[in-house]
């Protein structure tokens, strides 16, 4: 597979530019995260002022734990006071300090809730259905992700499993065509027993629950996707998923998938393992590999530094992006043994995969693009408009869970290293589309 690519190197740069420019032209004026003016202004401020950014994230983080408005305001004031003293110390204080306060105060109460709601399609499956069916009608596929607290007991794991089952059934009741129901699950929510030094405990702990969900998915004709989490748990998540999908009872369904994280230095070897498994495990239903960069970059870098380890992730942004492209090509070459999902908001990463798939004659049956609801809405619309298959990852959950999710997404996407941040701050399309 990989050999063919090397024999006849394709010139992808031209088609990548074409596809990317076309997608960009279909997107509204670049902006980040939000539509409201005040929020956009806030985002700009946040990217300029790390101390203020930290203050807001701490505020959003603590928001659900504040019982009264007074409590909320007290926390906000404390975070801002900290931010101001830090900014003052840096002596590079951003202009218009009182102005900075005003938009923050504006989002303090309802504003944050509104922002969280932008990422969340509903509190539970029923609540989310109108939004989801709207996406379906617009030709956009979905995958639902149930947000929740960390799972620390067996009871909590059971509760989470039941929520997943109810969601699968509720979506199935509303589906208008086969294959429309799609749920993403986290193994860490299905067991409190994940241990980095003993993957077998997490595997045994989550096995009955994931097995049950696979059965339900098979019964209602849904796709079940197992998300990937921090590196500590990758071995357990991979082994459990592949082992269950190897069981004879799942050879004829459901459709299922796993995630490959391109920021991991050893992701090429991990892909070897996934492809070897897919080759030797014939299934009537698709096995989907979702390619992502990885959502735990800071965690991995910090944990490695504190323990004196070499980080398991690339620390050079461009190396990570190059690896994403190399893995995209290998995955597209591996179709139709596997189905490929390219999950990214990065126009370059998306255009590269699209250009390579076009060159290989791989179409919507074997390749789709995925975005996160609330972050990639414009990207989603642009991709869909070009006739390519696109799927939105739709978190469902209450305010508490939503806040935590919001913090992570905001942190990730206002980081200077992020594509969305670069895009929102007005970097021109040609530059954004350059080879990494």
């Amino acid at each position: 597979m990989a050999a063919t690519t090397q024999e006849r190197p394709l010139d992808l740069e031209r088609p990548i530019k074409e596809i990317g420019t076309d997608l960009a032209a279909r997107m509204p004026r670049p902006r980040l995260v939000s539509t409201a003016r005040v929020e956009q202004r806030m985002t700009e401020l946040l990217m300029k002022d790390p101390a203020l950014r930290a203050a807001l994230f701490r505020f959003v983080d603590v928001r659900p734990a504040c019982a009264t408005p007074a409590d909320l305001i007290r926390h906000l004031h404390e975070f801002l006071a900290d931010a101001e003293s830090k900014t003052a110390q840096r002596a590079t204080g951003i202009t218009g300090r009182p102005l900075a306060r005003r938009p923050l105060a504006a989002v303090a109460g309802a504003g944050v809730k509104r922002m969280a709601q932008q990422f969340i399609v509903g509190e539970d499956a029923k609540d989310a259905l109108p939004e989801i069916t709207k996406l379906w009608r617009g030709g956009v596929e979905t995958t639902v992700d149930l947000l929740g607290e960390a799972t620390v007991s067996e009871t909590e794991a059971d509760v989470y499993m039941r929520r997943c089952e109810e969601t699968l059934r509720a979506l199935a009741g509303a589906a208008t065509k086969p294959g429309q129901v799609n749920l993403s699950v986290k193994v860490s929510a299905l067991t409190p027993l994940l241990r980095p030094t003993a993957p077998e405990r997490g595997i045994e702990g989550a096995r009955p629950r994931l097995e049950h969900l696979l059965r339900v998915a098979k019964e209602v004709g849904a796709h079940l996707h197992v998300d990937m989490e921090s590196f500590d748990t990758r071995e357990a998540i991979t082994a459990l998923t592949l082992d269950l999908l190897s069981q004879p009872e799942f050879a004829d369904g459901p459709s299922a998938g796993i995630v490959l994280q391109a920021y991991l230095v050893d992701s090429p070897e991990h892909l070897d393992e996934l492809l070897a498994w897919a080759e030797r495990t014939p299934r009537t239903h698709p096995f989907v590999i979702r390619l992502v960069k990885g959502a735990y970059w800071d965690h991995e870098v910090v944990q490695a530094a504190q323990n004196g380890w070499a980080p398991p992730v690339f620390t050079d942004r461009r190396e990570c992006d190059r690896n994403f492209e190399a893995l995209s090509r290998r995955l597209i070459d591996a179709t139709p043994t596997v189905k490929v999902a390219i999950a990214s908001h990065n126009l370059r990463s998306i255009s590269h995969a699209a250009a390579y798939a076009d060159a290989r004659g791989v179409g919507n049956d074997d390749l789709e693009f995925q975005i996160l609801r609330g972050l990639g809405d414009d990207t989603q619309a642009a991709i869909a408009a070009t006739g390519r298959q696109v799927r939105a990852y739709c978190p469902v959950g209450d305010l508490v869970a939503g806040m935590a999710y919001l913090v992570r997404r905001l942190l990730e996407n206002t980081a200077n290293d992020s594509f969305l941040a670069a895009h929102a701050s007005g970097t021109d399309t040609a530059e954004l589309l350059e080879a990494p």
């Binding site: 701490r58 983080d61 603590v62 734990a65 504040c66 019982a67 409590d71 007290r74 926390h75 404390e78 975070f79 006071a81 900290d82 607290e149 960390a150 620390v152 007991s153 067996e154 009871t155 909590e156 409190p192 027993l193 241990r195 980095p196 030094t197 003993a198 993957p199 077998e200 405990r201 590196f231 500590d232 071995e235 323990n307 004196g308 380890w309």
Partner: protein
């Protein structure tokens, strides 16, 4: 100059690293039981044999150690008098180099020593590995620290006057080490004394002599003269004799409060013929509380408390034994903790899947069980009977004067108390006679500031587990009855082991400054 870096921990989350650890364990098992003689000056000395056993499988003898008597102590101190002269005269750089070489030797035996701590102290792998790494850290950190100290301190200079202050070794140092960090704490206390030019006699814990011997062997191989470091396994007798001998200058101790107070008393009893005042450096345990405010993130609190209270069976001076929880979140947190405690696997230290290992010996097992039987638990984990196991136990709502709340248990027991406010929690903490570690879960900067000001503890950990102090990052040690307050692994620790000498020279000759 300051190039210290913490020794990287083994990356046990990787299967290949775990395989290497297990291979080291089998290799060690083939050699058991180890023979651990006394080392007195130049001599390898045998005596009455006692065994250290594997707490996870008490039928397995890990080491046969030779017990020192009071006479052996006297012989070792005589050897140390010679050792003190030669060792203190070596240049600081030479002493530091010897310690650094010893660190290198420990580094090269990394897996083997972790395996030994797994067997002899019943430490689960991650903890055992941390113990080896910390031992290495202490050697390197104190080697560098002693070099820095060697230059003395700058003084005010006047015309015609040259002032200098430098530090010199105090004198023969007796070290009495605990079993819970059988490599690290022994290495830390011994190397601090050696780095600053003191001869040392180490009396290791009865339960873990083989681990301590590995540290002593590395130091000798690294270049510490035999007569500057003697090694005396045994029980109370050598410990008592060491403390009482008038030729000892400094006593360094880590262990229980009762033993520490006893040592202080003996050390302060003047013996005829004694020509100095003994100094005691003691670290003596605690009753550590974690405060949980209403704005805490319970997703962080639950794992943080489990780790602080139950890792290594709660057998760390820093372990959490009380949680003081704001009433707004008390019920929810208690329910989640009660559910979480049954996810802890109780098992042998060598099993990577173990969360809670056995406790150190049968005496500890019975003592801890006594506390557990003294009230009705809120929730309890598993136990087993093929080792010194105790079920991890959660209590709730015991009266403040209950012994479970007042006394140091040193086992996998956590009691939950509901408080009206953070201020209320701080008052409860302040009532304790101990002040070692403490924890706070809060997302309010003002609350964090308030507790930092208000708490008497030596080490406060905010929004994280309260164990796992790292050399050079979290200098460790407490006040009140928790100890005499030196901060092990911190920039001031070595000052405990030296005396300062000031020299002032008149540089005026015939009215001229020369």
């Amino acid at each position: 100059m300051n190039t210290f870096r913490n020794e990287p921990l083994l990356e046990l989350r990787r299967g290949t690293v775990r395989d290497e650890a297990l291979a080291a364990l089998s290799a060690l098992d083939a050699k058991l039981p180890l023979d651990v003689p006394m080392l007195i000056g130049e001599d390898v000395v045998h005596g009455q044999v006692f065994a250290s056993v594997d707490p996870s499988a008490p039928a397995t003898v890990v080491a046969n150690a030779h017990a020192a008597t009071a006479q052996h102590v006297a012989d070792a101190i005589t050897a140390a008098e010679r050792g003190q002269r030669t060792w203190s005269q070596r240049p600081a750089s030479e002493r530091a180099a010897a310690l650094s070489r010893a660190a290198g030797i420990l580094r090269s035996r990394r897996f083997e020593l972790a395996a030994l701590a797994v067997r002899e102290a019943g430490k689960p792998w991650a903890e055992a590995d941390g113990d080896v790494a910390e031992a290495i850290d202490f050697l390197e950190y104190y080697a560098q620290g002693a070099l820095a100290l060697d230059g003395g301190r700058p003084l005010i200079q006047m015309p015609g006057e040259r002032n200098a202050m430098r530090y010199v070794a105090r004198g023969i140092t007796g070290v009495i080490a605990p079993w819970n960090f059988p490599l690290a704490i022994a290495a830390g206390m011994v190397s601090a004394a050696l780095a600053t030019g003191n001869a040392v006699i180490l009396k290791p814990a009865e339960q873990a002599p083989a681990c301590a011997k590995a540290v002593v062997d590395a130091l000798h191989a690294g270049g510490v003269p035999l007569e500057a470091l003697s090694f005396l396994p045994g029980g109370d007798e050598p410990g008592k004799a060491l403390v009482a001998d008038p030729r000892i200058h400094t006593i360094v101790f880590t262990g229980s409060c009762a033993a520490g107070l006893n040592i202080l008393q003996t050390a302060n009893t003047f013996v005829p013929g004694q020509r100095h005042i003994k100094k005691v450096i003691a670290e003596m345990g605690g009753k550590n509380a974690v405060i949980v405010d209403s704005d805490a993130d319970l997703d962080d609190v639950v794992p943080g408390l489990l780790k602080s209270a139950f890792a290594f069976g709660g057998q760390k001076c820093s372990a959490a034994s009380r949680a003081l929880i704001h009433k707004a979140v008390a019920d929810e947190l208690a329910e989640r903790l009660a559910g979480a405690i049954s996810t802890l696997r109780v098992g042998p230290a060598a099993d990577f899947a173990t969360d809670v290992p056995p406790v150190i010996d049968i005496a500890a097992q019975q003592r801890i069980q006594g506390y557990i039987d003294s009230a009705k638990p809120l929730a309890q984990g598993d136990s087993r009977d093929d080792g010194f196991y105790v079920a991890p136990t959660l209590f709730q709502g015991l009266p403040t004067d209950h012994k479970v709340i007042q006394e140091e248990i040193f086992g996998p027991v956590l009691s939950l108390e509901t408080v009206e406010s953070v201020e209320h929690a701080c008052e409860l903490v302040d009532q304790s006679a101990f002040a070692l570690t403490g924890g706070l879960f809060s997302r309010s900067p003002r609350t964090i500031e308030y507790v930092t000001e208000r708490t008497p503890v030596g080490n406060l950990y905010v929004n994280r587990e309260i164990t796992g102090a790292m050399v050079g990052r979290q200098p460790f040690g407490g006040g009140r009855l928790s100890g005499t307050g030196p901060k092990a692994g911190g920039p001031d620790y070595l000052l405990q082991f030296v005396e300062a000498r000031a020299v002032s020279e008149n540089t005026v000759r015939h009215g001229l400054v020369v």
